[in-house]
């Protein structure tokens, strides 16, 4: 069997504790099925996510990164996701500029009540990254490793 037939992308998902993580939880308790490609990292707020986290994930072999937080206006800390929104806009544009495939790094807003939406987000993100194939550009090659 070819490797490409069985290959599944590994996606790191940074979810904020108050909305998207709870949304993922709701998807789980509601028994909604979604692709198991994501590895969730729970963070206090989407504003906590440093672009360095995203690049470090790609370096360590993630095929994609999903970042999700509360909808603008719904932040538990009132304004964390507004700062995040600015950071992500600039980062996304920069990654596109350097020639990283568009879609490797994706952002979304998912609230604690949107279990179904969370499942759909993961489906969409996974499909997109699957189509892009294995990530090669920022992965750190360990000589002889």
């Amino acid at each position: 069997m070819m490797e490409s037939d069985t290959w599944e992308p590994k996606i790191v998902a940074f979810l904020c504790n108050w909305c998207s993580y709870a949304g993922a939880d709701l998807a789980g308790t509601s028994r909604i099925q979604y692709p198991s490609n994501i590895r969730v990292v729970r963070v206090p707020c989407s504003g906590r996510i440093d672009p360095l986290f995203i690049l470090a994930s790609l370096q360590k072999g993630a095929d994609g990164v999903l970042v999700s937080g509360c909808h603008p206006g719904d932040c538990h800390y009132l304004t964390g996701n507004y700062s995040a929104r600015r950071k992500f806009a600039v980062l996304k544009s920069l990654l596109q500029y350097i020639g990283l495939e568009e879609g490797r790094v994706q952002f979304s807003w998912v609230s604690a009540a949107e279990g179904t939406r969370f499942a759909k987000v993961v489906e969409q993100v996974t499909a997109r990254i699957k189509a892009l194939g294995k990530s090669k550009k920022l992965v750190k090659e360990i000589p002889g490793g």
Binding site: P51, L52, L55, A56, Q59, L66, P72, G73, T79, Y82, S83, R85, R86, K87, F88, A89, V90, L91, K92, S93, L94, Y97, I98, G99, L100, E101, Q106, F107, S108, W109, R117, K120, V121, E123, Q124, V125, K137, L138, V139, K140, E141
Partner: protein
């Protein structure tokens, strides 16, 4: 730019201001430029005594950004500042690295700094060039003859793209303000962005591949003052220290990102780079994005917060995953 004062006139005025400031005890040190030991090189100079004031000069090779010497300075200092230095000072004041009342800014309108390496490359090593302060011409001195060169051909890249050559913030202004330069169209960023994805990646792989991780770019940058840089942090160690492409690329991306909305485009990083990495490529892109998205130009006002330390509720929403 015809009303630009001659270089010797500017030098005289800078010395006069420095003399007054030191004599009145308003400052303990004047940070300016003195002639370097090689032609086409002027170097930073710290004047503390009146008898040293005549070391101060102003010419077309004062490209170093002196704002680098301000943070953590205990004594009151006067600083000679052209457009980009003054913008860096504004950023430093905003970020509480420099107190406004601890410094006196001697503003100098700038008509672009000459790239000594470029003159050496085109005209031969040891070329002696006289810059009289005209915006258009340089005089190349030969043993028995002189040649007039087009000054704009020999400017630093970032000077060619400079839109605010006059100091933004100053206490004393020497010389005449120059006419505001043309608006920045970011045509270089657009041209690069128009290349295909693989072409862009290949170009950056080539450029970043030259990097030896000496961090000269960071050390020269007037706005890189963190006590511990992310590349030096070991707990956790975010970025590997190797010159492996992935590590180097992440270093350059994050270095540029940390300067988004703060970079004053003085070109210090690129001049410091011993390997000739095209560092401006990323900085220019971020400069453009911050202008387009948040209508912000670094170093132009003391009131405006840095765009990435700020937000608006009605900021443009970028494309998100939205099923």
């Amino acid at each position: 730019m015809s009303s630009v004062s001659s270089m010797s006139q500017l030098t005289r005025e800078i010395r006069e201001s420095a003399r007054k400031l030191l004599r009145d005890g308003q400052v303990q040190v004047v940070i300016g430029f003195e002639r370097g030991s090689l032609p086409l090189r002027s170097r930073p100079c710290f004047v503390r005594r009146e008898e040293d004031i005549d070391r101060l000069v102003w010419d077309g090779c004062c490209e170093t950004n002196l704002a680098r010497y301000l943070p953590k300075r205990k004594e009151k200092a006067a600083i000679v500042a052209k457009g980009c230095d003054s913008r860096a000072i504004v950023e430093l004041i905003k970020e509480n690295q420099v107190h406004r009342d601890q410094i006196v800014i001697i503003g100098v309108p700038c008509n672009g700094m000459i790239d000594g390496l470029l003159i050496e490359a085109k005209m031969g090593r040891g070329s002696i060039v006289e810059d009289e302060g005209s915006a258009e011409k340089l005089i190349l001195k030969r043993t028995n003859s002189e040649e007039i060169l087009d000054r704009t051909d020999f400017l630093h890249e970032h000077c060619k793209a400079c839109t605010h050559p006059d100091p933004v913030l100053y206490d004393v202004l020497v010389g005449q303000p120059s006419a505001e330069a043309a608006k920045d169209t970011f045509s270089d960023v657009e041209a690069f962005g128009a290349r295909d994805e693989e072409g862009r990646w290949a170009y950056l792989v080539h450029e970043v591949g030259k990097c030896i991780r000496c961090y000269a770019c960071r050390n020269a940058c007037p706005l890189c003052y963190c006590p511990e840089c992310f590349v030096d942090a070991s707990q956790p160690r975010w970025v590997g220290k190797s010159t492996e492409l992935s590590d180097t690329m992440v270093f350059h991306l994050i270095r540029a990102f940390h300067l988004a909305g703060r970079c004053v485009a003085c070109g210090a990083c690129e001049r410091a780079c011993p390997m000739g990495v095209d560092i401006r490529k990323l900085n220019r892109k971020l400069q453009k994005d911050v202008k387009d998205l948040f209508n912000h130009e670094a170093g132009m006002s003391l009131e405006e917060a840095s765009p990435l330390a700020d937000f608006r509720v009605d900021d443009p929403e970028q494309p998100m995953v939205d099923p």
